[in-house]
């Protein structure tokens, strides 16, 4: 198997991932060091070092994971599902709260586990496994019941935390997998419409006031420039002031003078926009979309439905987060607190992304060469 695996290994994909990850670490460094950024100040930043370790460890783990035949995971569907659900429920009782939401479980002092992040990959694996089961058909309405229930349970728990952004990722993942699995257009349209109505109802009756405000303020952040609108304005100021060619790496004034909040996590793209300008930010986006493009190429070449669905799920997750996260920084999307995978500072997010990309690499490495 070794030779075939190395021959099939998707080096372009691997290289793209490494490129983005290294870039991400650099940007986290830029936004975490206060004052002048030098090599020594970078390496004395705890945030930078942590992200560097995660990046190196994550990349290594990803490569290791890619050598394991992804088909193994299909059999572990139930334990994975139950374990992830258990963590999600645990966070409700033992979690650390921040910003009105309970999202983290502290593991030691170094790491805060965010179960909703792990749940994303768990859902991709288990839903893919469910859909890849022999004889499952989406021809009839009834075929949708099992997969939707499958996703709905963890999604609801996350929604209750509350973590609107992550629960919406579940919608994107599920929609994409079901779509590729052959869901009928009519069903898609009906569900889309249903989802829309449900969203409106949820907005009116379920969401907490702070969520509501955050959801709509992006349309007009100047309504409340000092509080809810602050992040959005400062982010737009940062990105806009980058202009065409940017202020230069480590030289963004919004970033370096701390005007930009959450600059190394949710608003990391604002740092990219300010310091590298339209040119750098566009190149970054092109590379990122190229990654998604390549993942979907792996999906097309996958030897079985499970592998295909895995890749589609990962691609959906990355696309959705890219759109929502970058969209948030340029205020075309509401502020949902979703990180930019591979780039934002944060262990759980990085870990999840690396596991999912490891699976994609595994699908690529274990593809059926007879396709060609």
């Amino acid at each position: 198997m070794g030779k075939k695996l190395l021959k099939n290994y998707d080096y372009v994909l691997l290289l793209t991932i490494v490129l983005i990850a290294v870039f991400g670490v650099l940007m986290v460094g830029s936004s975490s060091v206060s004052g002048e950024v030098t090599v020594s100040s970078l390496f004395s930043s705890r945030t930078f070092l942590k992200q560097l370790i995660w990046a190196l460890g994550g990349l290594a783990g990803m490569v290791l994971l890619s050598f394991i035949d992804y088909s193994e995971w299909q059999r572990l569907k139930l334990p994975i599902y139950l374990f992830s659900l258990a963590l999600l429920i645990l966070v409700i009782f033992k979690g650390t709260s921040a910003g009105g939401a309970q999202r983290w479980i502290a593991i030691g002092s170094f790491f805060n586990l965010q179960p909703s992040e792990l749940a994303k990959i768990a859902i991709i694996i288990t839903l893919s496994a469910t859909m890849a089961k022999e004889g499952r058909s989406l021809e009839k309405w009834t075929g949708l019941i099992v997969p939707i229930l499958h996703v709905a349970v963890p999604m609801l728990v996350i929604f209750m935390q509350p973590d609107l952004g992550t629960s919406l990722i579940f919608v994107a993942i599920t929609g994409s997998i079901l779509f590729v699995a052959g869901m009928r257009w009519l069903h898609l349209a009906v569900m889309g419409a249903g989802g829309l109505i449900a969203s409106v109802l949820a907005f009116l009756f379920v969401l907490k006031p702070y969520q509501k405000t955050r959801l709509i303020i992006f349309r007009d952040p100047w309504q409340d420039p000092f509080n809810d609108g602050w992040q959005i304005i400062q982010s737009k100021v940062a990105i806009g002031s980058g202009q065409f060619s940017g202020r230069g790496l480590f030289k963004g004034t919004q970033t370096q003078l701390d005007f930009l909040p959450a600059k190394n996590t949710d608003f990391i793209f604002s740092v990219i926009g300010e310091e590298l300008g339209f040119l750098g930010a566009s190149i970054f986006l092109v590379i990122y979309v190229f990654l998604i493009w390549q993942i979907l190429k792996v999906a097309m070449e996958a030897k079985d439905a499970f592998g295909r669905y895995l890749c589609v799920g990962v691609a959906a997750m990355l696309s959705f987060q890219l759109l929502v996260n970058v969209g948030m920084t340029i205020s075309i999307m509401p502020v949902t607190g979703l990180p930019l995978p591979l780039v934002s500072y944060g262990g759980s997010s990085f870990l999840t992304t690396m596991i999912s990309l490891g699976l994609v690499l595994s699908v690529a490495a274990h593809k059926d060469t007879s396709i060609f």
């Binding site: 994409s176 779509f179 590729v180 699995a181 052959g182 420039p225 000092f226 509080n227 602050w230 400062q234 737009k236 100021v237 940062a238 990105i239 806009g240 002031s241 980058g242 202009q243 065409f244 004034t253 919004q254 003078l257 701390d258 005007f259 926009g273 300008g277 339209f278 930010a281 566009s282 986006l285 092109v286 979309v289 998604i292 493009w293 979907l296 190429k297 999906a299 097309m300 295909r308 589609v312 691609a315 959906a316 696309s319 890219l322 759109l323 970058v326 969209g327 340029i330 075309i332």
Partner: protein, 584 residues
């Protein structure tokens, strides 16, 4: 299978659409609106701080600081967008300043120029500033500014000519402060400081221009003399009132000039006021006697902003004109019999005194209106006005050319010819100083010209301008505006007459030198004679110079409604004593 691949291709296209949407929006923000956002970023991070230049000082000739610049403290708040930090600052500051937080919030709301700190309190006392500085870390957006403010340490000394500075834009708006504003102002310093989100300065100030203090004015005024003249005038006026010699003796003026240069050595107006309270109604009410009438209690400077009939002090003009033109000789005698009519104008000498046959010298000594009315009638009004001009007292040249204070703040003489039908009697009346009105400063120049032989020096009080390091920037030499070729023998006659006049005064006895002078008791509102209620005494004038042989100072004393001119000599004596160091 085929359908699946097609659907994945659709997803890939969707990813490209996401890319397109994001890049389109980025282009919009970064390239199209980029410059605007860059400006916002600059406003975010730059604080524009102004360092106000201390205004130049004004010194007297003897080095006394007449106008100083003292620092006052202004508490301001920089624009901070974080609500918590803002509120924390407001709450703490309100505590220290003992203000309602709502007032501070209101001031912040009304403040428009966001890149400049909003002023919360001015003139904050030093104790409070020390406290604020100690607890500055609790108030992240606090800015303490030093605002130099004008202060006049000598309070009422030279108050009027010094003028006033507008507290808001800190421009001189009256007097010397206005005329010399350009020099006194200095240049404000600016610095642009980069701050972080906590409003803490980061790094060095970019673009920093330090403030340059204004230049200093050095005046010709001698404060010792100024003070002596001011005190004497005040004392004599008060004495006249308390001794019930003149109920209206409230106001007056003194001009002391150096006849050899035109330097103004003293410029006194009475009543005076504390210039730190120039427009402070309460101060005026509390510090000037309640019984002082409103006509006296005004800001007018009676040396250069006020004209009055000058009475017999004018007679030397007519005397010089008569001698120079040959209308009369020094020795020709005219009979002064107490009262007569000249040009159909009734003329009488003071108290209807009969002086007999008097020549020029004697006529000056006894101040004969009949003599000078006769000479004036011989000369005709045109000749008299010609000599008024020769002595620098024309209406066109305000205060003999004095221009250290803006001309629009000065008064000029009243030319009685204007707008009236002239009759022969008017020529007689102006000959002994009625009808026409002059300023004290005009008389000062005129008597200086008699003392120096006809040189019209421009009267001036700003002698030197120095910069804040003390280096002389400009020095003003005496300036000759005009020179009359009076015959020395004619001048000598007039001077001798003046000397004889002065010698008659009890106040000018026991001096180590002779003095030349001439009194004037000027009638004014003729109609009021019939109305006893409104009747006021004549204006009391004295002009002169000392010493007679070698003039060093020319003096004009004016006491409004104070009666006989001889009363003014008491003030002149105090000035002479002070200048020559003759006080006991």
């Amino acid at each position: 299978m085929k359908m699946t691949l097609w659907r994945i291709t659709l997803l890939r296209i969707l990813a490209l659409i996401i890319l397109a949407v994001l890049i389109y929006n980025l282009f919009q923000i970064q390239v199209i609106e980029g410059e605007e956002w860059a400006n916002v970023a600059d406003n975010n991070r730059f604080r524009h701080l102004v360092e106000l230049a201390p205004r130049g000082r004004i010194y007297s000739a003897d080095g006394v600081e007449l106008a100083a610049s003292v620092p006052t403290y202004v508490v301001a708040l920089a624009d901070v967008q974080n609500k918590d930090r803002r509120e924390q600052t407001i709450t703490k500051l309100a505590e220290f300043l003992q203000m309602e937080p709502e007032i501070i919030r209101d001031k912040l709301k009304k403040h428009r120029r966001k890149f400049e700190p909003a002023v919360i309190a001015t003139n904050v006392d030093f104790e409070t500033i020390l406290q604020l500085e100690e607890y500055q870390h609790l108030m992240p957006s606090l800015v303490i500014q030093v605002v130099p403010q004008r202060y006049y340490p000598e309070k009422d000394l030279l108050a009027n000519p010094l003028g006033r500075v507008n507290e808001i834009d800190r421009r001189g708006v009256e007097g010397l402060e206005r005329k010399w504003d350009e020099y006194l102002q200095g240049a404000d310093g600016f610095s642009v400081v980069q701050v972080n989100v906590d409003n803490r300065p980061v790094g060095d100030a970019a673009n920093s221009t330090p403030a340059v203090p204004g230049n200093n004015l050095h005046l010709t005024i001698d404060t010792k003399l100024q003070k002596a003249a001011q005190d004497s005038l005040h004392r004599v006026l008060e004495k006249l009132r308390t001794e019930k010699k003149s109920k209206d003796a409230w106001a007056g003026a003194v001009v002391v000039l150096d006849p050899n240069t035109g330097k103004i050595l003293a410029l006194v107006t009475e009543p005076t006021f504390d210039n730190n309270h120039r427009y402070d109604k309460a101060w005026w009410k509390d510090n000037l006697p309640a019984e002082m009438p409103d006509w006296a209690k005004k800001l007018t400077d009676r040396t250069y902003q006020y004209r009055r009939t000058v009475g017999s002090t004018f007679k030397m003009v007519v005397g010089m004109a008569g001698l120079e033109t040959g209308a009369i000789t020094a020795t020709e005698k005219i009979y002064a019999g107490g009262r007569t009519r000249i040009n159909n104008q009734p003329v009488n000498d003071y108290g209807f005194a009969v002086h007999g046959n008097v020549d020029m010298r004697r006529a000056l000594a006894v101040s004969s209106n009949i003599y000078f009315g006769t000479v004036g009638a011989r000369l005709g009004s045109e000749k008299i006005y010609e000599y008024i001009e020769k002595f620098g007292m024309s209406r066109e040249q305000k205060n003999a050319g004095f221009d250290d204070i803006a001309l629009d703040e000065q008064s000029s003489s009243l030319d009685y010819r204007l707008g009236r039908t002239w009759v022969g009697g008017n020529t007689v009346q102006i000959s002994y100083g009625q009808l026409n009105e002059f300023t004290a400063l005009q008389l000062g120049n005129y008597v200086s010209m008699l003392a120096n032989g006809g040189i019209h020096y421009k009267p001036y009080m700003v002698e030197k301008i120095s910069d804040y390091t003390g280096k002389t920037v400009e020095y003003f030499e005496p300036e000759i505006l005009d020179q009359q070729n009076f015959k020395p023998e004619n001048l000598k006659v007039i001077r001798e007459g003046m000397q004889q006049s002065a010698a008659r005064s009890q106040y000018l006895k026991n001096l180590p030198f002779a003095v030349a002078g001439k009194t004037g008791s000027a009638e004014h509102d003729r109609s009021s004679r019939k109305n006893l209620e409104r009747w006021r005494d004549t204006h009391s004038w004295w002009v002169g110079y000392a010493p007679y042989d070698n003039p060093e100072i020319a003096i004009v004393v004016f006491m409004e409604y104070a009666g006989a001119g001889s009363r003014s000599i008491e003030v002149a004596r105090d000035i002479i004593d002070c200048y020559f160091g003759l006080e006991e």
